[in-house]
Amino acid sequence: MKWSIEVGRYDRSQNPSGPNVHGYPPPYEAAPAKRYQIFEVELDDQAMVLDGLIAIREYQDESLAVRCACRSAICGSCGMWINGKANLACTTKLREVAQDGKVRVESPPSMPVIRDLVSDMTPFWKKNLSVRPWLEGKKPVPQGLEEYRVPNAAMENLIQEVSCISCGLCLMDCESFAINPDFLGPAALAKAYRYADDPRDATVKQRLGDYSQANGIWECTHCYMCVDRCPKGVAPLDQILKLRRMAVDAGFTNNAGTRHALAFAESVRDSGRLNELTLLPKSVGLFNIPAQLRALPTALNMLRAGKMPPIIHHKIPGVDRIKNIFKKVGGLFK
């Protein structure tokens, strides 16, 4: 079968003084131009995108740069944009993504580019490093040939994150990262959960405090992009939500994220619907005037677009039944 693969070409050495293709928020068209080049390859209908790229690199254009090693979603090297979605080239079948035999691959605009399909993963690794991704073992460390005694379930609980291959797909398409480059991002926070919920770690409380800071667990907007993109079922958002619960339970509630969640829940508990007017002040703090002023342009835009919430907030009928649900759930929101 003949496939047409359109590849985004870029060479940092050819653009020495030009801007890096880095951190451009949507719309990504604003990023410096890369050149697109179309290659035709002959491969069967089981072929993966990576098979196509290797065929190009080996027999058509040796200058095509693409990272790959294992070819089976283990090494995590070949994360890239395939038709505008972050994906692994090695396990994406051409026939599943090609339309009329055509597919477009490129490095994602959310990452700096080194060459062609080779992204500079430095932002990814820096975020990983910043969550203190190693065990701080409880003291005393078992002596001799003794292991830490822990239930198997506690270890199995962590396999989901340990399955992460650091391909970076989750970060490449993360909506929060797109608008805030300092957000720790899905993979690093999933890794944070892996160590925070390890029964052998001695620093859980400190970890939860750290992860509750700005750019941490509360910066995620639950868009589920990371869950969708992850090729290994790590579901980073699920790990972030677990961290939030752990952090709130541990008492780290004095932050905008927790206040926002509480204000949200209280509004639903008390009226059966969301009171958007009070959500912002309650989240950032009632007397935090600067933060509220910063939101003013957004509020004005909403007003102009006819999206202003009603000034008078009405309860829905039967709100008592919702209160009962909250009572049953318990926790902070009873």
Partner: protein, 559 residues
């Protein structure tokens, strides 16, 4: 640029990171250099587990015997004793570092059965044991602050008066050549799987460190011992872990027969890998295969066991063959997987070259002899990675500061520049690589004979001549993979040549070396290692080393 460290480790897989950590713990200035980011290393693809005699009723002596028997008595027994007796402490240390090993009902480490082992002594994390270990060691490397040069590609070892004093690397990001000057270099760059096509190995397993050490004068040992794994996926050749059979999977021929009963009535599917691979090859050759494969049947294990203990191979079979192993058997065949041979070292990882150490798959201590047992390779990387890190950090204290290196670096820069400007003459690295791989698989595979090996030798020699005219089809400085592929092909050809010479030399059948023209093991003449030394422009010189026997005299080997 010239950068100084006490110890430089080439390779950031399990052996390399373990060596780097140990050297750092001993207070020397250590750097790890790798052509890929550490977590991309091929150690991460190890699936099944890691062996240690830690449980009740097991002992390191039994583990040692299983290993020696598995090796077809070619392993050096003093080295095996070191590995198996230190294994429990290394496993426990990994657990303390944070590896999420499977636990039994008491919350202690739990095991699974594995091939060639008389006890269940394989510790594991699902079927991603290598990945779990690799990430834990990477995390520990981050914690230690050891310097890692990522995506630096090694082109030559820096030799001063017969001692190894550094390594020249291309920084892929800039294309610049740099000399990492050091008092000791530890080669931990893994195997050479891509010399064969197909292979279970990643595309990065090209024998770089083996060839660099070989060219620098370090002898290679037992290079003919190339392991074919019995269960690699039809077509793509991806690994289907031995843990599948450890958990109880069957091997079936086209008649639905568990054919291993005719080859290894006691151990059945869990006989040593060389034994099972030969059995499959015979079944297929005698017409009892299906389309060149046999079947790996896991259906009776049930969905729960498959999904909780073998999820990765379930996913791979589904992705690449569209087969759900819960409901259908998977077609598999023997495929090149591992080399037991490599750079000859002692039990401290030291090669005969001062300042040069090796650990992991690239090294030959030898603990695997003619055939490695499953789940002994991860153990090898950790024990001998640690020991080489320790030994090298003691050694560097005896070495004065290393001077100069500018000239060597400049010569290396000229060599690479000349390669970059070589005109295209019709040969590409990709075509030669493919031809080499297919030749090696056809002639130096599970079964070998003199005629086939001579064909392989002539073929490799011809490929080496053609290699002299391969051009680099990319002129950019940044991330020039065409250049590194050409250099890799050079390493692969040297490794292939050594393998073929080893196989021609050893005129017997032992472990992975099965010669149809010499079908018996011959302890009288061949209970010895084949040692190869590089000679520029000529075939390697060959001599022999005795096998160290401590407690276990060679016996007949049955499973």
């Amino acid at each position: 640029m010239i950068l100084d460290h006490d110890v430089v480790v080439l390779g950031a897989g399990l052996a390399g990171m373990r060596a780097g950590l140990e050297a750092a713990r001993n207070g020397v200035n250590v750097a790890i250099v790798s052509k890929v980011h550490p977590v991309r290393s091929h150690s991460g693809a190890a699936q099944g587990g890691i062996n240690a005699a830690l449980g009740a009723g097991d002992s390191w002596e039994i583990h040692a015997f299983d290993t020696i028997k598995g090796s077809d008595y070619l392993a050096d027994q003093d080295a095996v004793e070191v590995m198996t007796s230190e294994a429990p402490q290394d496993i426990i240390e990994l657990e303390h570092m944070g590896v999420i090993f499977y636990r039994n009902d008491e919350g202690k480490l739990g095991t699974r059965a594995f091939g060639g082992a008389s006890k269940a002594r394989t510790y594991f994390v699902g079927d991603i044991t290598g990945q779990a270990l690799l990430y834990t060691l990477y995390d520990q490397t981050l914690k230690s602050g050891v310097k890692v040069y990522e995506e630096w590609f090694a082109t030559a070892l820096y030799m001063v008066d017969g001692a190894c004093r550094g390594v020249v690397c291309i920084d892929m990001m800039t294309g610049e050549l740099n000399l990492l000057r050091a008092k000791a270099v530890i080669i931990a760059s893994g195997g050479m799987g891509r010399v064969y096509e197909p292979s279970t190995n990643a595309l990065i397993c090209t024998g770089d460190g083996i060839a660099l050490a070989y060219r620098a004068g370090a002898p290679l040992m037992d290079m003919e011992m190339v392991q074919y794994h019995p269960t690699t996926l039809k077509g793509s050749g991806f690994l289907m872990t031995e843990a599948a059979r450890g958990e109880g999977a069957y091997l079936l021929n086209r008649d639905g027969e568990r054919f291993m009963q005719r080859y290894a009535p006691k151990m059945m599917e869990l006989a040593s890998r060389d034994v099972v691979s030969r059995a499959e090859t015979i079944e297929i050759a005698e017409g009892r295969g299906i389309d060149g494969n046999v079947l790996l049947d896991l259906r009776h294990l049930g969905r729960d066991v498959i999904m909780s203990k073998l999820p990765q191979i379930h996913e791979i079979a589904l992705d690449f063959l569209g087969i759900d192993m819960v409901t259908d058997p998977v077609p598999v065949r023997p495929g090149m997987h591992y080399i037991m041979g490599g750079v000859r070292t002692d039990t401290d990882g030291a090669t005969p070259i001062p300042g040069l150490y090796a650990a992991g798959e690239c090294a030959c201590v030898s603990v695997h002899g003619g055939n490695r047992l499953g789940a002994n390779s991860l153990l090898d990387t950790l024990v001998f990675g640690r020991r080489s890190g320790l030994a090298s950090s003691a050694y560097v204290k005896t070495v004065a500061a290393i001077a100069s290196g500018e000239e060597f670096l400049a010569a290396e820069q000229r060599r690479i520049a000349a390669l970059m400007t070589r005109p295209y003459a019709g040969e590409t690295h990709a075509r030669l690589r493919l031809e080499l791989g297919m030749l090696m698989d056809a002639k130096v595979g599970v079964y070998r004979d003199e005629a086939g090996l001579q064909e392989a030798l002539a073929g490799v020699e011809q490929l080496k001549r053609r290699y002299q005219s391969v051009a680099v089809g990319d002129k950019s400085r940044v991330y020039n993979q065409a250049l590194t592929f050409v250099l890799e092909l050079g390493y692969m050809l040297d490794c292939a040549e050594a393998t073929v010479h080893g196989a021609i030399t050893r005129k017997e059948s032992r472990g992975a070396q099965s010669r149809t023209d010499y079908p018996q093991r011959n302890d009288a003449d061949w209970l010895k290692h084949v040692v190869l030394r590089y000679q520029d422009g000529q075939p390697p010189s060959i001599d022999y080393l005795p096998v160290t026997i401590t407690k276990w005299p060679p016996q007949e080997r049955t499973y």
